[in-house]
């Protein structure tokens, strides 16, 4: 078996970032992916923040972007009604994409740089002294390994770099993809052909940690629900039907009318922010990146992970390269720790440490979501006498004003 400078485990955004950067910097790289094809095990909601990709990937303008997000919508849903807040802009910093296609495209770029991408192989073990990767009964020797195995950290746990997730640290996301014509999507969401909408929902049907989402792709729409695993357990939420319940709400159904479902998928999402990042991200010259390291930021109204994953792969690659330049690959772990600590990823996660406490408060997902709808309902109800805003607010917040003010203050500070 050939010897490689570095082996990357996992063909998701993090692994592809690492392999791309290392090969670009002249290292002899092997990327191993368990899926029969790169991208087929990757699942997410639907939107990627673009900056990192624009900066690091040559030819990014040809990437399979579905639509550039020009409208951000936040919707509070109760059982029957809804209130939406929409932000519309000509500027954009994110795009919708099918992650399967996007990662496959990235994988082609990785191969262009000269790295070897081998799909359909499961890595069984990573061993130390000397560093080697065990797959298909073969031992592959290398100077460094990047483990980017995704949210289920099976190899990483075996190495003792991190423990398994607790139910309160991850959410399960279920997604349905609907086929609709491009022009139907344009008219229903009131956008041009290359423009997209990201719509997050709070409240119905789970009324607890998590919420619904709709992302518009070119000629498909991604719809689904994310619910924290501990809340699903506690509230006995039937996760297999939760997306269907969400989709049945009239204010969701209206976007999908006449469309046909073409795929159903599920995936875990790290939701513990900085608390989900283990104390150490390496063992010798074995580095962990992406979801495996917990690099996901959930602010309630946005969730960000794919760009962090890719960027952590880049930083892992640079650390390995620097260590090898010094002549000791064993230093790559420590260099990586420093790079990550000073990176945008950790700055962001640190900055939103308090958001974790805010998002812990279930009143935002239940009581306040319903209240938003009731207040708006009260204002617009003109069947007979109109209601003054003041009276509606006083009525709907009766007996919980102080608690509400404190909760909202915490939200202002944390989010």
């Amino acid at each position: 078996m050939d010897r490689f400078d570095a082996v990357v485990i996992g063909g998701g955004a993090a692994g592809l970032g690492a392999a791309y950067r290392m090969a670009e910097n002249g290292l002899n790289v092997l990327l191993i992916e368990r899926g029969e094809n790169v991208g087929e095990k990757s699942v997410y909601g639907g939107r990627i923040y673009s900056r990192v990709f624009e900066e690091y990937v040559k030819g990014f303008k040809d990437a399979p972007v579905e639509r550039w997000v020009k409208k951000e919508r936040l919707t509070f849903l109760d059982d029957k009604e809804s209130v939406s807040i929409e932000y519309s802009s000509d500027e954009t910093c994110s795009f919708t994409a099918i992650l399967t296609k996007f990662n496959r495209w990235l994988s082609d770029r990785v191969e262009d740089t000269g790295a070897l991408v081998v799909p359909g192989i499961m890595v069984e073990d990573v061993k130390l002294n000397p560093t080697r990767v065990v797959a298909d009964g073969e031992e592959i020797e290398c100077d460094a390994v990047v483990i980017a195995e995704g949210v289920n950290p099976m190899l990483t746990m075996k190495l003792g770099i991190r423990g398994d997730w607790k139910p309160e640290e991850v959410a399960v996301g279920v997604k349905e993809v609907f086929k609709l014509s491009e022009s139907e999507i344009n008219s229903r969401f009131d956008v041009e052909s290359d423009e997209g909408v990201a719509n997050l929902f709070v409240g119905y049907p789970i009324f607890t940690h998590g919420g619904g989402f709709i992302y518009t792709n070119k000629d498909t729409v991604s719809v689904g629900v994310v619910v924290r695993v501990d809340s699903a357990m506690k509230n006995k939420i039937e996760v297999y039907d939760v997306a269907e319940k969400f989709r049945a709400h009239k204010d969701v159904a209206t976007f999908l009318k006449g469309g046909s479902m073409i795929e159903y998928s599920a995936h875990l999402v790290p939701e513990a922010g900085i608390r989900g990042v283990p104390g150490e991200l390496h063992r010798n010259s074995i580095l962990i990146a992406g979801d495996t390291a917990g690099f996901v930021l959930n602010r309630g109204f946005t969730i960000r992970g794919v760009d962090f994953a890719f960027y952590s792969g880049i930083l892992a690659a640079d650390s390995i390269r620097e260590a090898m330049d010094i002549g000791d690959a064993g230093l790559s772990g420590q260099i990586y720790e420093n790079k990550i600590k000073e990176s945008l990823i950790m700055k962001e996660l640190e900055k939103f440490r308090k958001a974790l406490n805010v998002l812990e408060n279930t009143r935002f997902f239940d009581e306040y979501a319903r209240m938003m709808v009731e207040i708006m309902g009260g204002i617009f109800d003109v069947r007979e006498e109109s209601n003054r805003l003041y009276d509606v607010v006083m009525d709907k917040t009766k007996g919980r004003k102080l608690r509400m003010i404190l909760d909202f203050l915490s939200a202002f500070r944390g989010l």
């Binding site: 368990r34 899926g35 029969e36 094809n37 991208g39 087929e40 095990k41 990757s42 699942v43 997410y44 099918i98 992650l99 399967t100 799909p119 359909g120 192989i121 499961m122 797959a135 298909d136 949210v151 289920n152 099976m154 398994d164 997730w165 607790k166 139910p167 991850v170 399960v172 279920v174 349905e176 993809v177 498909t220 991604s222 695993v229 699903a232 357990m233 006995k236 939420i237 039937e238 996760v239 297999y240 039907d241 269907e244 319940k245 049945a248 479902m261 073409i262 795929e263 159903y264 998928s265 599920a266 995936h267 875990l268």
Partner: protein, 89 residues
């Protein structure tokens, strides 16, 4: 509402003969929580006469059952090339 069976019918799988998740009969039947019955997004855990039955065909490989299970659940990914093939992940 589209049944979970119909939705799983839209997903492409290469099923391995050997299951990659192995619940232990005794532990499962004596489990007081049985959260797997509702947290699995593919509804692969079923209960009949107090006994838990699991079918790995149709597994979406999310890992939720492993995280939610109060016991040590033997959980692995399917072998390379097997399992789910998402096209719109």
């Amino acid at each position: 509402m589209e049944s979970i069976e119909n939705r799983l019918g839209l997903v492409s799988f290469t099923v391995d003969s050997e299951p990659h998740i192995k619940p232990e009969e005794e532990k499962c039947n004596n489990c007081s929580l049985k959260v797997c019955l509702y947290v699995c997004p593919a509804k692969l855990y079923r209960e009949e006469d107090g006994k838990i039955y699991f079918n790995h065909e149709g597994c979406l490989e999310c890992g939720t059952c492993r995280v939610a299970c109060p016991e040590e659940l033997e959980w692995k990914y399917p072998r390379g090339g097997f399992g789910v093939h998402y096209q719109f992940g």
